[in-house]
């Protein structure tokens, strides 16, 4: 036994001065992560291994089943092209084409959050994996982060492909002058998006079969209120609300402002620096809420005995 024991993912019960759990605590601890009396290093290593292990099938799966190249890159590019052609048919200013291309690229992350994060724990529950996660001596946050990391690898490929191909085919000219801010906003958008995804993954455990339908309705409505193909500021109060609550809307608008700094079509929203701060706040709130939701819902599910109930 190590001289510096700690309990993985436990922030409630106190340890003895020597760092050991008392026998009473051990009896009370129904959670194997609490009873695993590990050092902080062991805990961190286990969580990192869990993170990598959860990300692995997503990354490896990309190479094992190449059909995703057609359905995740080629077809979304064609879908984005359709929206570009709508603007071309309407003889809209060329900036709109750039807006559509950026929206099409960033939508890859939103789709990944909705399909592969939000509904994932419910899905794992249906498949019988969830109880294994709870039984394993690791933090569920590590599992969620692993899901996010693996999903990021998949969706980044799609986003980059759609962006590069669409920009080349339609001749989009980006006029980026603050690259560092673009990078910061991009990273913050991803952290906020996947933070939201982790929070929704926890919440969706509560909804049962409704989670599936919720996943379905979170695509087009969010696209609309976030201004997927047009400046979100044109939606007035709806756009303001979207900027306040939906990271996809904030990130997309900030990226557009940075990619087209001289456009007079992007009005009615805060400057990108402010939107970056909004994204920071969203990251903190969503990630913290994800952790709280996971703990609370786990406790509720344990008390109801519903962790392993499937198909409801």
């Amino acid at each position: 036994m190590s001289a510096e024991p700690a309990r993985a993912d436990s922030g409630t019960a106190d340890a003895t001065p020597t760092g050991q759990l008392t026998p009473a605590e051990r009896r009370l601890a129904a959670d194997p992560r609490i009873t695993a009396d590990w050092t902080r290093r062991q805990t961190a290593e286990t969580n990192l291994r869990a993170l990598a292990g959860r990300a692995y099938p997503r990354v490896r799966g990309m190479f094992r089943e190449p059909s995703w190249v057609i359905f995740e890159i080629l077809l979304p590019f064609l879908g984005t092209s359709a929206y570009v052609l709508v603007y071309r048919a309407l003889k809209a200013p060329e900036e709109y084409v750039g807006f559509v291309v950026l929206g099409g690229a960033l939508s890859a992350f939103w789709l990944n959050v909705v399909w592969s994060m939000a509904g994932q724990l419910y899905w794992e529950k249906s498949q019988g994996n969830l109880e294994l996660y709870f039984a394993a001596p690791m933090s569920l946050m590590a599992v969620l982060l692993g899901m996010a990391a693996g999903g990021l690898a998949m969706s980044s490929t799609r986003a980059a492909a759609v962006l590069v191909i669409s920009a080349s085919v339609f001749g989009v000219q980006f006029d980026v002058q603050q690259w560092w801010l673009v990078c910061v906003v991009f990273v913050l958008t991803l952290t906020a998006l996947y933070g939201l995804g982790m929070m929704m993954a926890s919440l969706f455990l509560l909804w049962g079969r409704e989670a599936w339908h919720l996943t379905n309705v979170m695509v087009e409505p969010v696209y609309f209120v976030s201004g997927l193909n047009f400046p979100v500021g044109r939606l007035g109060a709806i756009g303001v609300a979207a900027i306040a609550f939906i990271p996809f809307a904030v990130g997309l608008d900030a990226m557009r402002q940075l990619a087209f700094p001289h456009s007079d079509l992007l009005v009615g929203t805060p400057p990108p620096e402010i939107e970056a701060l909004i994204l920071v706040a969203m990251t903190v709130v969503f990630t913290g809420a994800a952790r709280w939701c996971m703990t609370t819902i786990e406790r509720m599910a344990r008390s109801r005995g519903s962790l392993s109930i499937r198909w409801q």
Binding site: G79, W115, W123, Q127, G208, V217, F224, F230, W311
Partner: protein, 315 residues
């Protein structure tokens, strides 16, 4: 007991040999009805009717709003023709997406989530018929969404449809002829999903997004390059949408013909007339249905060969 003794005798006269042997069309219709009912219950029994209705209409209405805002901010509210063109096309799209997703999601749901595909597969019903029935249920749900989206467009977006001017016979014929190819495309996606893993949930959406490009749903085919326009002309969805549009708005612009279109260049006519629309829909629909059936049979054989019918995947 004699080996040649009928099964009904072997089980004490209870069995009905005709059931095991099959009764052709009657059985097929019965199976379609059962699959429709099953699909409908799977779709709708998780929530109360009001909540289900909200979930059903929110997607098509949002899609319509997305496109309407695009048209409005560029063209202004004065461009009523473009708005009407887009609204009608996007409302129909809800039905198409549901029809595409139905069979594919049935494969994924039954195989990976409920793990009942193997039992359904070994039931007396043909697998293809079962999937068509399940897809039909979702198509009906999508049709409800389309209807509500159109009502919303009339009330909130100022869409003007004159019931007296609607060509009802054309509308009925195009709707009836249009549904089988929509389901056939869904069957193609089901064939794909039989081979792929559970991430295929969003494949129907991606496919539908790509179909946007070559169906004349939200812009006329004339703005596409000729070769892509030709692809659009062998797509039954193009004829279906054009037929419905022509029936509902007889004086509206055509998505197939018009200045600079391949259709006008080849035929010399401004737009296909109603009979041509029906003929085009029938021909392309029949072709798509035949190809879809062949593809599905091939996929089914491969799935059986490789043991894919009861596999579960994760990522």
């Amino acid at each position: 007991m004699a080996v040649t003794e009928p099964l009904s005798a072997a089980v004490g006269g209870i069995g009905d040999p005709a059931r095991a042997e099959g009764r052709g069309l009657v059985d097929t219709l019965r199976h379609i009805r059962a699959a429709l009912l099953l699909g409908w219950r799977v779709e709708s029994n998780w929530a109360d009717p009001v909540l289900f209705a909200i979930y059903t209409v929110i997607r098509p209405v949002s899609s319509m709003l997305l496109l309407t805002v695009m048209v409005t901010i560029v063209g202004g509210s004065a461009d009523a023709t473009a708005r009407t063109f887009v609204i009608l096309g996007s409302a129909l799209w809800a039905m198409l997406v549901s029809g595409l997703a139905g069979p594919a999601w049935s494969v994924l749901e039954d195989r990976e989530r409920y793990r009942t595909l193997k039992y359904l597969y070994t039931s007396p019903a043909t697998f293809l018929v079962l999937l068509a029935g399940r897809g039909g249920a979702r198509l009906l749900t999508g049709a409800m969404g389309t209807l509500v989206a159109l009502l919303f467009a009339v009330v909130a977006l100022g869409l003007r449809i004159d019931p007296m001017a609607v060509d009802w016979p054309l509308l009925v014929v195009t709707m009836l002829l249009g549904l089988p190819p929509v389901l056939a495309l869904g069957i193609v996606l089901a064939a794909v999903c039989l081979q792929t893993r559970q991430e295929s949930w969003n494949y129907p959406d991606a496919f539908a997004g790509a179909m946007f490009l070559v169906s004349g749903v939200v812009f006329p085919l004339a703005i596409l390059p000729d070769w892509l326009e030709a692809v659009g002309l062998v797509n039954p969805i193009t004829w279906w949408v054009a037929g419905v549009r022509r029936a509902v708005l007889p004086d509206g612009p055509s998505s197939i013909g018009g200045t600079g279109s391949l259709w006008t260049a080849v035929t010399g006519t401004a737009a296909p007339d109603p009979l041509t629309l029906i003929g085009g829909l029938f021909l392309t629909g029949a072709m798509t249905t035949l190809v879809a059936t062949a593809l599905f049979r091939g996929s089914e054989r491969r799935a059986r060969d490789r043991g894919l019918l009861d596999r579960t995947t994760g990522s």
